[in-house]
């Protein structure tokens, strides 16, 4: 399942276009908007700071086709009548998409080479940030997988995924939190922030790979994938 799906990305020019645009933006944003050079620091903090926003638009583009396309092309019928469980199909597809996004992220390695050439960054912290970044991408991808199973239109899947992703990111953004802080008790503010991808990613991006953050992302992925399975199985009996 994984192999079929992963290979499918490279069977069309979509993969090449996606990877190129992602890499150009991943590199250009820190330089243009983030004043990567002017900071005079040999680290990748600015680079990683853009990742949540980059993923917000790119990951749903990868996820939207996962199930909507199968439904539309009728191949869902072929897939779901093979001796696979729905969960196996869901996980296989998710892992292939995750590996694809992982490949995109891995291809940003020249950024890492550059900072190592220019100075002596904390490579442990960079590694942790990379781990946080791929985990967050996985979270958004699992959300996208579920929303792609809801519809046969890829455009609808994309728009829904961006919207839900935005909520999950913004729940941890200072703008939202300070607005909530004016009227809500501290525990509520804390729990809203704790729900957010951003809060957990920023913790990891600082270079501290905490078990709690790791669990948060893995649990998020598991929950949304379970939801995907339920949506698909419900479709059989509705």
């Amino acid at each position: 399942m994984f192999r079929r799906e992963f290979a499918a990305y490279f069977a069309t020019p979509v993969a090449a276009v996606f990877l190129s645009v992602f890499l150009v933006l991943a590199a250009a944003l820190p330089f243009q908007l983030g004043r990567f050079y002017e900071q005079g620091q040999a680290d990748l903090a600015t680079f990683f700071a853009f990742h949540p926003w980059l993923y917000l638009f790119f990951v749903p583009a990868v996820a939207m086709r996962l199930w909507a396309e199968e439904r539309k092309a009728g191949t869902l019928e072929l897939l779901l009548t093979l001796p696979l469980t729905t969960a196996q199909a869901v996980v296989g597809k998710f892992l292939a998409a995750w590996a694809f996004v992982g490949l995109a992220l891995a291809l940003t390695f020249p950024m890492w080479v550059t900072v190592n050439y220019l100075g002596e960054p904390d490579n442990g912290a960079i590694l942790a940030a990379y781990a946080g970044s791929i985990l967050m991408a996985g979270g958004l991808l699992a959300v996208g997988s579920c929303l792609s199973a809801v519809t046969r239109s890829q455009v609808v899947a994309y728009v829904l995924s961006v919207a839900v992703g935005l909520v999950l990111l913004l729940a941890g953004h200072d703008l939202v939190l300070s607005a909530v802080r004016t009227w809500a008790p501290v525990w509520l503010v804390e729990s809203v922030a704790a729900m957010s991808f951003l809060t957990h990613f920023q913790a990891v991006a600082r270079g501290v790979l905490d078990l709690a953050d790791l669990l948060y992302f893995l649990l998020t992925i598991a929950l949304w994938l379970a939801a995907t399975t339920i949506v698909l199985d419900r479709g059989r009996s509705r």
């Binding site: 192999r3 072929l78 001796p83």
Partner: protein, 246 residues
């Protein structure tokens, strides 16, 4: 053995399949007939487990499609309506994927691939993407994935749709040949196919069973003289007239 017991499927207010019961034994080729919208495809989907029934159940060699879906599906080959396949894959990749998912050992995978490719004349298009194939080759690629694991039961939804007369003939030969030891259900609205390949025919209309008989028995119902195919045609129209649905 494929068994349907009181299969019922509702979509909202619409009852697509209504309390349908029948069983098919090895050696039988069951022709599943009905006007468009009679519930043929829905029944195929219930038997293969793509859809869950609202009531009743489907069994394949004693494995209940809901309670033991993997075992039931393992003994089943299925050609869905329209022969859907992943457009960006080549025929070879499609068959390799299905073989892997179905757990065929590499040596058996090679044997079976050679067999189905030879039998269905797929050699010239083996490394072409499915999106570039003609309707006939697509259908044959779909048939190939259905019979690849040599399943004891086959469900074929309009297997000869889109084939030219020679190809139709080939596919019917193949079905007859496989029928010796397999359970086969063929849905079709081409009535000449019933006489050509089926040992038994079921007609449904409005989701209900209208008739379960041999092709000869069906023809006899026309009450006229003439070639069997024409009489089957007349009987079919008499049984289903007015039962069609959009």
């Amino acid at each position: 053995m494929i068994e349907a017991r009181s299969l019922t499927r509702r979509f909202g207010a619409l009852t697509a399949v209504d309390d349908l019961s029948f069983s098919v034994a090895p050696g039988e080729v069951l022709g599943f007939l009905g006007p468009n919208g009679a519930g043929k495809t829905t029944t195929m989907r219930l038997i293969t487990g793509f859809l869950a029934p609202t009531a009743g159940h489907a069994q394949v060699f004693g494995h209940d499609m809901r309670r033991a879906p993997r075992q039931a599906r393992a003994s089943l080959g299925y050609l869905p309506e329209g022969a859907p396949a992943w457009e960006e894959m080549t025929v070879r990749e499609l068959l390799a994927f299905v073989a892997r998912v179905r757990g065929l050992a590499p040596a058996r995978q090679r044997d079976r691939l050679a067999h189905v490719v030879g039998r269905l004349g797929l050699a010239p298009v083996l490394d072409r993407r499915i999106e570039t194939l003609s309707k006939g080759f697509r259908r044959r690629a779909g048939l190939a994935q259905a019979i690849l694991h040599d399943p004891p039961a086959l469900v074929l939804d309009e297997p000869t749709d889109g084939l030219d007369p020679n190809q139709k003939h080939e596919v019917r030969d193949l079905i007859r040949e496989m029928a010796r030891d397999k359970v086969i259900i063929v849905s079709t609205h081409i009535l000449e196919e019933v006489e050509a390949v089926c040992t038994r025919a079921i007609i449904i209309a409005g989701g209900r069973l209208v008739l379960d008989d041999t092709p000869q028995g069906l023809a006899a119902r026309a009450g006229t003289e003439g070639p069997t195919a024409e009489r089957i045609d007349a009987a079919f129209r008499a049984l289903t007239a007015g039962a069609g649905r959009a």
